[in-house]
Symmetry: C2
Subunit: 261 residues, 2 copies
């Protein structure tokens, strides 16, 4: 492990969220070279959005002695502008979170926290997204902290595959109930939407997105949902090659060459 | 193939973009049961963003005789609200695009067009995202249209694997130069950012995201980038399980059980 690694911290709940303040606290135990670049407002559900048609702002701050910048963009913008404009050297690790709420199974696709980690992976930088399965602003992060430190230390020491990042979810239970760490795959699940339709004072409809989380693989012990439901911390390695290789052969029927048309 | 399939059309460039108007024109040749739900403003680069902390609006319109709704949300919001609130039955196919600009290789991750297709796949609905490799508002969609019709017809007839969608990119060349259709995998590529830093009238910095596209697999003939560079239409099957299965074994070192701690 490098003596004093440079670690970039970001999140999607915004730079003032308790989750990122807890993450900073943990990272301080591992290194004293830390830079924070995080959204200036909540960015949950932003997925891999980037700001293409507007400008970005950075505001320098100091969080508990750590060099920090709030950024007007998305979590992915934060990683891009941090590696390109803020940092003088390539970070050894990017950590994102701790998210207020689960990013397990299909949530990885919608999550700003995980998209920041995936962006780091695209750029070839080791990255970990941490989420606590409690979306309350008052969530208790304390039981999670020793595990977060352990996983960060292990990744710094042993590394992970290039272009892969980790999706770590932590059950929101007391320390004595956490059963350990489990490496698993993303469960197949879906949000079944139920838009809440309301009428504004002018008589026009508007909609709130709500939904019910449905796990389609309840009995599968190799999934992150199973691990979390059984009070394990789930670790899913995530990459950004979304090719469905199993479909390649079947789709050959779509192929044609100009000559044969 | 079902007699008169129900097809939902969306995009990320907004409901007035020439690309979606061209797509509507093609789909009309295949069925007369069409509903359009598309963003009311450009949503490029929105990735898989959803609107969680704000409300959504739908405005009914009529595009060339087709039932249409502009939606105040992201492309993924459009799919969610269409399947949940607008349509009375499950669509047989969701098509997204035609995007003004390539969504090949790593762009699939940032693309609102493809995220709409992925959302459909999550919901178990067959879906195709179409993109023309020319981001101009005046791009010529004509050479692409027969291929788009052919791919839609084939998917309606033969189907695709459940929870998979197609990422179709079309080179922006004249009909006689298109060499045919190639089924391929997502190339490994990256955007190397170069933020353009400017100073506002008050003397404060702001930033524009710019970047250079770098294909890391130039010689690989099984990739979408190779196909497009050789004037083939690229078809990549896309799924949403982002687990990096190859890393699972190596990461077992992170595992522990409570007993052994």
């Amino acid at each position: 492990m490098k003596e004093n690694p440079l670690i970039l911290i970001t999140n999607d709940d915004g730079i003032t969220a308790p989750g990122i303040l807890n993450l900073i606290k943990v990272v301080k135990k591992v290194t004293d070279r830390i830079v924070v670049v995080a959204p200036d407002s909540p960015q949950s559900g932003m997925g891999h959005a980037i700001t293409m048609n507007a400008t970005l702002r950075l505001n320098k701050q100091n969080i508990d002695g750590v060099e920090a910048y709030s950024c007007s963009g998305t979590p992915v913008d934060c990683v891009k502008i941090a590696t390109s404009k803020v940092l003088d050297e390539r970070p050894d690790l990017i950590v994102s979170g701790v998210n207020h709420g689960s990013n397990s199974s299909i949530n990885v696709i919608y999550s700003g926290t995980m998209s920041a980690a995936v962006e780091a992976a695209i750029e070839g930088i080791p990255a970990i997204g941490f989420s606590l399965c409690n979306s309350s602003i008052d969530a208790d992060f304390k039981p999670a902290l020793p595990y977060i430190e352990q996983i960060i230390s292990s990744v710094l020491k042993k590394g992970i595959r290039e272009h892969t990042c980790l999706n770590v979810n932590i059950p929101a239970v007391s320390s004595d109930l956490i059963n350990g760490v489990k490496v698993c795959r993303q469960a197949k699940a879906v949000w079944e939407e139920e838009f809440d339709e309301r009428t504004d004072p002018s008589g026009n409809s508007y909609y709130w997105l709500t939904g019910k989380f449905v796990n389609k693989e309840k009995e599968k012990e190799d999934t992150d949902e199973w691990a979390l439901n059984n009070n394990y911390i789930s670790v899913v390695p995530v990459h950004f090659d979304v090719t469905d290789y199993q479909s390649l052969e079947q789709l050959k029927i779509l192929e044609n060459e100009k000559e044969s048309r």
